[in-house]
Symmetry: C3
């Protein structure tokens, strides 16, 4: 029995989608609290949604996570409930890789079911709003104590769609990585750990893959340590490096968006030279850090 549903989607806020899902949950499980994580994942962007979940998951209240970024809605992609932590929490959503990074971060799936028990769905006039008719309804019933194995058929967790995310790699004397996320303030989170550039010193060359342009960035622990207009490499709130500009937008300043390649080089290196070979970029499971216990 769970008392909290954490809800993520690409529904936006302009339409009634999010409100209707809240209402459906309250109709079925009146005492459950619903926490909106975000509903502004770019439409159909499973990777971005998976990253939001991965960044959030270590801060979520145990319970049900309802996540819907679902371009394949109504097709044969499976609808899933995935149990983690031996039942401490359950993630509910489509089997398209959206849930995978968060599941990996909390220790992996213990069980999974395909949501085939239509008794726990709403009658649906059409097949396009599974967030309302399938996922929210099942999430609410799970909160009410419906057994995990009652909402569908057990599936082998090895068959779940994986969530692949790019990892950093050596590039000459530097480190090549990628912009994982541009946040509301224009900070650009990289998939690069601070330890990977500890040997580079306080100033670092930043080469933007798409344009080949380079900028110098200063390492900092707070935005306002940076001079006006200076580009910083800040240890962000998730323990990764982020490109930042004090009271401004690094994304605008450097022309960045999620997915752009970035190469960090020691300051005394010649910043010019051969650009990264995009064909050499690799993907591995997400490595956002787990929150230290305490």
């Amino acid at each position: 029995v769970f008392d909290t549903i954490s809800f993520l989607s690409d529904y936006g806020r302009a339409d009634e989608f999010v409100g209707v899902v809240h209402s459906v949950i309250r109709s079925i499980a009146p005492s459950v609290a619903v926490i909106d994580i975000s509903h502004d994942v770019p439409p159909y962007d499973v990777r971005a949604g998976g990253l939001v979940l991965a960044r959030s998951v270590q801060y979520l209240v145990p319970g049900v996570v309802l996540a819907v970024v679902d371009p394949g809605v109504g097709t044969e992609r499976r609808a899933l409930a995935i149990e983690v932590g031996d039942g401490e929490s359950v993630l509910v959503g489509p089997d398209n890789g959206l849930l995978a990074p968060a599941v990996a971060l909390v220790g992996g799936a213990t069980r999974a079911v395909s949501l085939t028990a239509t008794d726990y769905h709403l009658p649906a006039p059409g097949a396009t709003f599974a967030g309302r008719d399938v996922f929210a309804s099942v999430a609410a019933h799970l909160c009410n104590g419906v057994p995990f194995t009652d909402v569908g058929e057990i599936v082998d967790v090895a068959t779940l769609c994986p969530g692949l995310l790019p990892v950093s790699r050596p590039e000459g004397n530097g480190i090549a990585g990628e912009v994982l996320w541009v946040d509301h303030f224009g900070n650009a989170q990289l998939n690069i750990d601070p330890a990977e550039i500890d040997a580079f010193g306080e100033r670092v060359h930043v080469r933007v893959g798409s344009s080949g342009r380079t900028r110098t960035a200063v390492r900092a622990t707070a935005f306002d340590e940076l001079g006006v207009g200076a580009v910083g490499l800040v240890l962000d709130s998730y323990g990764l490096l982020a490109l930042a500009v004090a009271r401004g937008s690094a994304a605008v300043e450097l022309g960045l968006q999620a997915g752009d390649e970035i190469v960090l080089l020691p300051f005394d290196e010649d910043a010019a030279g051969d650009s990264a070979d995009a064909g050499d970029r690799r993907a591995m499971p997400v490595t956002l850090r787990k929150r230290s216990s305490g």
Copy 2:
């Protein structure tokens, strides 16, 4: 005594309007849950707000519906509470047609009062924020068990402002309708029932009234059944037809917005020919489908 208020407005989220309304409700009725349906109805767009309510109402928890799209605030337009379902729920808002489609969909008004009992209002520095000073305050008092007839004077339900919405009509061998709503994903909901084009087969000509341009659309039950870039006519989650593009925006692709006229024609028809006569468009009460029981 109600324990849920479903809240719709055109207040947007940038200002504190929505938060202040939540706070006013909690001050008066601390244990009531407030569910935000949407606050991004286009400013002053009573028709769009009425359609959001109509689409949502069959999924709302019984209780109070607080709806504020109110260009006439502070004038002599009445402020209303409308009882439906013999007291199961009450809708609170301005008498400008906003509530009418939802009221009709749940069986019509059983009673209505004009909110003239100022004891249940907040003292108002100015007349422009009735959502806070009148509607939210009355909604909260109704949740506390204040009798319906105490919050104002009974008015004849036959005098309530109606909500008129366009209905489809035959047009040559086709069906002429209108874009009711463009959603966050760019899907364009039409006021056309799937049964109306069952005889047309799997491919349908779509003529956009304003431009006269035609496109071919394929009938589908899921977005991802459509080929890349293909336009589909999908049975949407409310049981109406919607123009859609897989992982793209039909509204952008076809240059559509709410209110645009659309003519659907059998594929073997000559799609050219005389355009719809806008003067012939008719209005009738909304005919969104009721949720099937179960």
Copy 3:
């Protein structure tokens, strides 16, 4: 022991920041309700955030106010909890002037602490998300009954960063003021009290400082009293004057944004003449009106 946290920030809604703060609060204080006042304060705009709080504060449920607009996060700026009303409420946020107008409006600070007791913070991978790691965590612990003086060291309330806001002043035969706020509908709230122009009659010249252009505005108590396209001076919902256009945007019509200087002149005056001397503009604590009791 408090049961409500009112939450304001410049986090936006696109990222997970707001949702994670909600989740952190629920993890620590599960039964506390969180009311979102607004999260769309322009990034780093402490003045705008302070005005939102000042407009809202008289409508907030007693409890904890959590406010985060914090460009100096991670630097030596203090993190504060400020007690008001002899303990009726506590405001939590950075010591940068954000909280000051609201504190002044509710009667001033009775005590303040600097949030140095890290036992009540979350372990932080980086220093940039104090809203999550410091402010939300402390706010939740205060709700749980942790004594005010346990979350940090008492500081002299005379040392708190003040919040300075512009006040109106005579300008020839008129009154010079400033646009405090442009709301979602394009209404432009001025820092001018209606009583200040009572002698001007029903029609008023409006001179826009930056352009020197003048327009005639009609005094009104409701937007829809204005003719189509006419500019009005409306008594707004906070008791101040606002420039408004019925079913349109005064800000667009007059080219206004927050901070613009405005001079109101009697209609029979020559609206031309010497413009306001921007060097003469003065700042004093906010004078938004208190809600009348009742």
